[in-house]
């Protein structure tokens, strides 16, 4: 059940590189949030028409509150265009119009008894803190692989460290952590850990998630991806957010935003029927198989 509400902005923290953290008062919504879910958001500015017209999808970064059920939600956002610009300008004392919680979020069952690697790229980090938190709280093994262009693009690392989650940083310019792409980090993990014990979650720019997915599928490792598409409504009625899976179009908002890497078809990919069969086979086998290694 999604709610429509106006949430007062309690705090606005300016982070490097056009990243912002907003904390909102949302006592009816905060306890309902599951990891990987999102809200549609726009500032309430008293004008007769919002500009841009449509709300923007934002993952719930975190929930907070003193004792008992959480009453506040945190959004972590990076300014890209007009929508995020306006959200980032929201001052404490103003309110945001929210619709949410939306989407299905991550499947945490898949992580049970596994070594869970969370691969976040850039602002994709916003979708995975709650996931990491709940996995860690459930006693699962969790590591964060966090890739960004440069040191200053890394946000929120301390929030993961507070949870005692190991953070493995890669930056494209080498200004912090390993120099290179996050997939290099992943490859090293594939050497470190028995593959059949691994479970992946990823959120970030499409090319990164596509590369991660490819590795995961190749190695038969289950991998959930949280995708970004343009969304008009966020709750399944505009049918605008479709993505392609091996057997049909699906809605990123209500069927997703989390999908299985094995069945997801990336833009530009045109899986032949052979690929399809192979990947479907791989996908079902990767789910069944446990002790098998591809070498």
């Amino acid at each position: 059940m999604a709610q429509v509400l106006e949430a007062p902005v309690l705090q606005r923290i300016v982070l490097p590189r056009d990243n912002f953290l907003l904390e909102l008062e949302a006592p009816s919504m905060a306890p309902e949030i599951r990891p990987g879910q999102f809200v549609m958001a726009a500032p309430c500015d008293g004008l007769s028409l919002p500009n841009p017209l449509l709300k923007r999808a934002l993952a719930v970064y975190s929930v907070a509150g003193k004792g008992g059920a959480p009453s506040r939600i945190q959004l972590l956002l990076k300014v890209i265009g007009d929508g995020t610009r306006r959200l980032a300008d929201a001052q404490p004392g103003s309110t945001l119009g929210l619709v949410g919680p939306l989407g299905n979020g991550f499947d945490l069952e898949a992580g049970k008894g596994r070594i869970n690697l969370i691969l976040a790229g850039g602002i994709g980090i916003a979708s995975v803190l709650l996931l990491a938190e709940q996995l860690a709280r459930a006693g699962e093994v969790v590591e964060l692989l966090y890739g960004a262009r440069s040191e200053r693009d890394l946000v929120g690392i301390s929030d993961f460290e507070k949870l005692d989650i190991p953070v493995l940083v890669t930056t494209e310019d080498g200004s912090r952590g390993e120099k290179g792409l996050i997939t290099e980090g992943l490859k090293r993990c594939l050497e470190r850990f028995p593959r059949e014990h691994l479970n992946l979650y990823t959120c970030g720019p499409n090319p990164m998630m596509q590369a991660v997915s490819r590795l995961a599928v190749e190695h038969g490792i289950p991998c959930q991806i949280s995708v970004e598409t343009k969304m008009a409504c966020g709750f399944g009625v505009c049918l605008g957010c479709s993505i392609k899976t091996l057997d049909s179009y699906r809605l990123a908002c209500t069927h997703g935003p989390v999908f299985q890497a094995e069945t997801f078809v990336w833009e530009g990919e045109n899986p032949s029927s052979e690929d399809t069969l192979r990947r479907q086979a791989g996908s079902s086998s990767s789910r069944r198989r446990t002790g098998l290694s591809h070498g």
């Binding site: 709300k55 008009a232 505009c238 605008g240």
Partner: protein, 314 residues
């Protein structure tokens, strides 16, 4: 409050508790909105366009936001008329609002067949023929851009159903009144307009269309002034009721259409911006009636006062 009788209207022999419906393609099959408000608050809602067989729609890249509007090329993804009857309607038996089935065929025969299947369905109050969808290559807009075809499809459906037949017109024509007249002559019970305007946006870095379908339909506040004018023109042309659509976000917008001549309105894109938009329109209309001492909203319909002849100096 919402049921106060000052808002009741009659369209094509049907009573509506208020003149605010939600537009096809922006309200799913109604069910998706039950989490936000009781559907009984609405005058009614129009289903997503129903085709004879289910359709999967166009490839990803279906929407793009534009100034005060959005382009869409959904390609009429829908569950098909049987899917609607079997999977959706059973959940709507107690929704207590009027359901208008928006329907679409690739041929006249398909339109007729869909109408026949819906005819025995009590829960469906009326049919709305979408002869104006810009996003599929067959059917749709073809019927809406040739008045003889319009006449033919409307007459055929009219004789295939006992339900009121509404016809949804395309604005992408030189003279919409020609089509409105064709509908009236063919026995249509109401005209709904407008569907979207054909438009296109380009990703200038990639030099590719923003939509996978290249073009899409423009909706939202951007087109409201165009819609209001077309509603006015059709209102002045035909005797059957007109239902106004296009960029309605609030009561003031809805009033523009009513005053221009619409007997009822539909809220479309605004449902995405605020799922409760239609409710706000209803509350706002009631507030307007109260403030202006209007005991019956029908007083407003077509009440536009136009000054006499403007003079030009030369």
């Amino acid at each position: 409050m919402a049921d106060s009788s000052c808002l009741a209207v009659e369209v094509s022999g049907l009573e509506f508790r208020n003149p605010v419906l939600t537009a096809s393609g922006t309200f799913g099959y109604g069910l998706e909105f039950e989490q936000f408000f009781p559907l009984s608050r609405l005058g009614g809602f129009c289903t997503k366009g129903l085709s004879l067989l289910p359709m999967a729609g166009t490839a990803p890249g279906r929407i793009h936001e534009t100034p005060a509007g959005m382009l869409n090329a959904i390609g009429l993804e829908n569950v098909g008329v049987e899917g609607f009857i079997e999977d959706k309607l059973p959940h709507l038996t107690r929704c207590d609002t009027r359901i208008i089935a928006n329907v679409l065929g690739k041929t006249i025969e398909e339109f007729v067949e869909i109408a026949r299947r819906l005819d025995p369905i009590q829960l469906v109050s009326a049919l709305e023929l979408n002869i104006s969808c810009p996003n599929i290559s067959e059917g749709g807009i073809h019927f809406g851009h040739d008045p003889r075809m319009t006449h033919k499809v409307v007459a055929s459906v009219r004789s295939a159903t006992s339900k009121p037949v509404w016809v949804k017109l395309s604005p992408n024509v030189t003279d919409v009144t020609v089509f409105a007249r064709a509908c009236e002559e063919a026995g249509a019970d109401a005209i709904t307009l407008i569907n979207t305007y054909v438009g296109m946006s380009i990703d200038v870095d990639k030099r590719r269309p923003m939509l996978s379908n290249t073009t899409g339909g423009l909706s939202g506040p951007a087109i409201r002034p165009l819609a209001v004018r077309l509603v006015r023109e059709v209102y002045q042309t035909v005797n059957i009721p007109v239902i106004g659509i296009g960029g309605i976000s609030n009561a003031r917008d809805a009033l523009e259409f009513l005053i221009a001549g619409a007997r009822a309105v539909q809220v479309g894109t605004a449902n995405f911006v605020d799922p409760c938009a239609a409710i706000k329109v209803i509350d706002g209309l009631e507030e307007h009636c109260r403030r202006h001492n209007i005991s019956d909203i029908n007083e407003l319909v077509g009440s536009l006062q136009v000054e006499e002849g403007q003079f030009f100096y030369y």
